[in-house]
């Protein structure tokens, strides 16, 4: 497939490199001669000098045969205009990196859908959003949205006193009329399994559910989480991610304490804050944090650029009574380490951005992807193609790949949880959970690879 990558910065370079390695015919468009030279020297792609937001340049890049268009320059507007041009040329999949929350924030006047661009990626926004999702779903270890937010994938840790501890999957299934969701997976002792009817939910499991957004309150009730809310939150680090998280919870009328070591930045944050308390302190200064009430925090979110400090501060906060701690960690070795330390969740900007683009790209028909617990498994949103061999056959009769399960579906505007009688029709969007070894089989099955 012809792939055009506009912008040869870090993300563009990396993406082009990976796609070329996978055998795609990649053209990199870049206006800086220096950046282009490095592409020419190090990558097996065609390098084209010019402005990717100009039709003439795109035609030269072969936009007519382009199957995938990725615009990741430093300038949002260039990326958006380039994608809009690509749309005019009929490119089926367009991806733009945008840093401004004006396009990706909630209630954006122009969003991906309106622009007709399949995916808008804002790296910091993606990180902030992941943190917000997990922090606000009290007790959730993992949250991902699908079908425009109408379908959720949520992971809950099971405590010994959880109402679902000890229930079999069959019993949970009996409750599906009142509590409609699919248990997509259970992680137990570091292993991920797709449970069957006689499997039982056990304490210390992480249980991963696919449900409709509108059933979230009922499901939280069933799991005994209805009274747990995020009321007191500490945000460590007042960079753009920390600020975004703090602002979100200010709007939600939570009690927000923002801790930032830099004095000037603190003053700016204090000026912009509505109700949040801004503290000028190092995030590991336990005495200061204790006097600010860290011991009563429902959640601590560590977002400073110093990942070791994020980990340390999260551990200290938990030691002194904070209920949950989430932290931003970028180094892959740390990402694997953090859960074993007792930190509740970690988010990696590099992982989430780079892999978001690449995963989206690798599969033509995949609409959205989330990875679970250090990439052990994936949740895919796919569209059922016109030529789907098993269309209009009940799900129970379909030889669905082992290691994968259909969690939810969207037909038109209606999200639903499938049963054995459900049929999958062309045009339906479905959310599938797949263990790593089953991902390729799922793609083949739906003809999206």
């Amino acid at each position: 497939m012809r792939v055009i990558v506009v912008g040869a910065g870090e993300v563009g370079f990396h993406t082009a490199e990976r796609l070329a390695l996978e055998g795609h015919d990649v053209v990199v468009v870049e206006h800086s001669r220096q950046a282009l030279r490095s592409v020419e020297e190090r990558l097996n792609v065609m390098a084209l000098e010019g402005n990717g937001a100009e039709a003439r340049v795109l035609e030269e890049a072969g936009i007519g045969e382009c199957g995938l268009f990725i615009a990741v320059t430093d300038v949002d507007e260039v990326n958006l205009v380039a994608c809009l041009l690509a749309k005019e040329y009929g490119v089926p999949v367009k991806i733009a990196r945008v840093r401004s929350v004006a396009y990706t924030g909630r209630g954006a006047v122009l969003n991906a859908e309106k622009l007709g661009i399949e995916l808008l990626i804002n790296p910091l926004e993606a990180v902030a959003q992941d943190l917000i999702n997990i922090a606000s779903h009290a007790a959730a270890v993992e949250v991902a949205e699908f079908a425009g937010g109408r379908i959720l994938f949520v992971g809950y840790p099971i405590t010994p006193d959880s109402p679902v501890a000890g229930l079999t999957l069959a019993e949970i299934g009996e409750l599906r009329t009142m509590y409609p969701f699919v248990v997509a997976a259970i992680t137990r002792h570091g292993r991920t399994l797709i449970p069957r009817g006689d499997d039982r939910v056990e304490p210390d499991d992480h249980v991963f559910l696919v449900m409709r957004q509108k059933d979230l309150a009922a499901v939280r009730y069933m799991f005994g989480l209805e009274k747990r809310q995020t009321r007191r939150i500490f945000v460590f680090g007042g960079g753009s991610v920390g600020q975004r998280v703090a602002e979100h919870f200010e709007h939600k009328r939570a009690e927000v304490t923002l801790v930032e070591p830099d004095r000037d930045r603190c003053e700016e944050l204090a000026r912009r804050a509505n109700r949040a308390t801004v503290i000028n302190a190092d995030i590991t200064e336990v005495d200061v944090l204790l006097s600010e009430g860290i011991g009563k925090a429902d959640v601590v979110v560590a977002t400073t650029p110093n990942e070791e400090k994020n980990i340390l501060a999260s551990l200290l906060a938990k030691r002194h009574g904070a209920r949950r701690a989430l932290c931003v960690v970028d180094r892959p070795a740390y990402v694997g380490l953090v859960p074993s330390l007792g930190i509740d969740a970690c988010i990696s900007p590099r992982l989430s951005t780079a892999s978001a683009i690449l995963k989206y790209v690798r599969r033509g028909g995949v609409l959205n992807v989330a990875t679970v617990e250090e990439n052990q498994a994936e949740v895919l949103e796919l569209r059922i193609p016109e030529a789907f061999a098993w269309a209009r056959r009940p799900l129970r009769e379909i030889p669905f790949p082992d290691g994968a399960i259909v969690g939810a579906a969207l037909r038109g505007d209606r999200a639903f949880i499938p049963t054995g009688d459900t049929t999958l029709d062309p045009g339906d969007r479905i959310v599938v959970f797949a263990l790593p070894e089953a991902v390729v089989a799922v793609e083949d099955f739906f003809g999206t690879s």
Binding site: D161, P163, V164, L175, A218
Partner: protein, 153 residues
């Protein structure tokens, strides 16, 4: 887990009088208040209404399983009520509800509450069981039908 462990004969009501959601919940809870199982009936009804707000427990086919958790409750308790006329209950299929299984559990009941709910849902999937419950005459007859079905699984 058997249904009759927490549903004794005297908590089976063949003729519910109430004609609306709140009324029917109050009528079912009243049995528990009279038995001194529940102290504050109004609070219990409120707990049930709060739960209904998250999504109706009217699961279709004329059945509802209203349920909730109460702090000052010693054990899991159920009440069965039948409304010959049917009650509007915002059911999933939009049809009026004739058969009500009310379930109330102590706040810290862990999984027993859900296990009981699953048990009730499972029994009620049987169409002939539902038909029998609708056709039966007296409290005694209803009790016998439930007991028989309860022993099957």
């Amino acid at each position: 887990m058997n249904l009759l462990e927490f549903l004794p004969r005297e908590r089976i009501l063949p003729h519910l009088k109430a004609r609306d959601k709140e009324g029917v919940l109050a009528e079912l809870v009243e049995v528990l208040v009279a038995e001194h199982k529940v102290r504050d009936g109004r609070q219990a009804v409120q707990v049930l209404l709060d739960r209904e707000r998250l999504g109706s427990t009217g699961i279709g086919e004329g059945i509802a399983i209203p349920h909730g958790k109460l702090r000052d409750l010693d054990e899991l308790v159920a009440v069965f009520g039948r409304s010959p006329e049917g009650v509007e209950f915002d059911s999933m299929d939009g049809a009026p509800v004739h058969l009500f299984f009310l379930l109330m559990a102590p706040e810290n009941s862990a999984s027993t509450h859900l296990k009981a709910l699953a048990r009730i849902s499972r029994l009620l999937k049987d169409r002939s069981f539902r038909e029998e419950l609708l056709q039966a005459g007296s409290q005694e007859e209803l009790y016998e039908i439930i007991a028989r079905e309860d022993e099957k699984y």
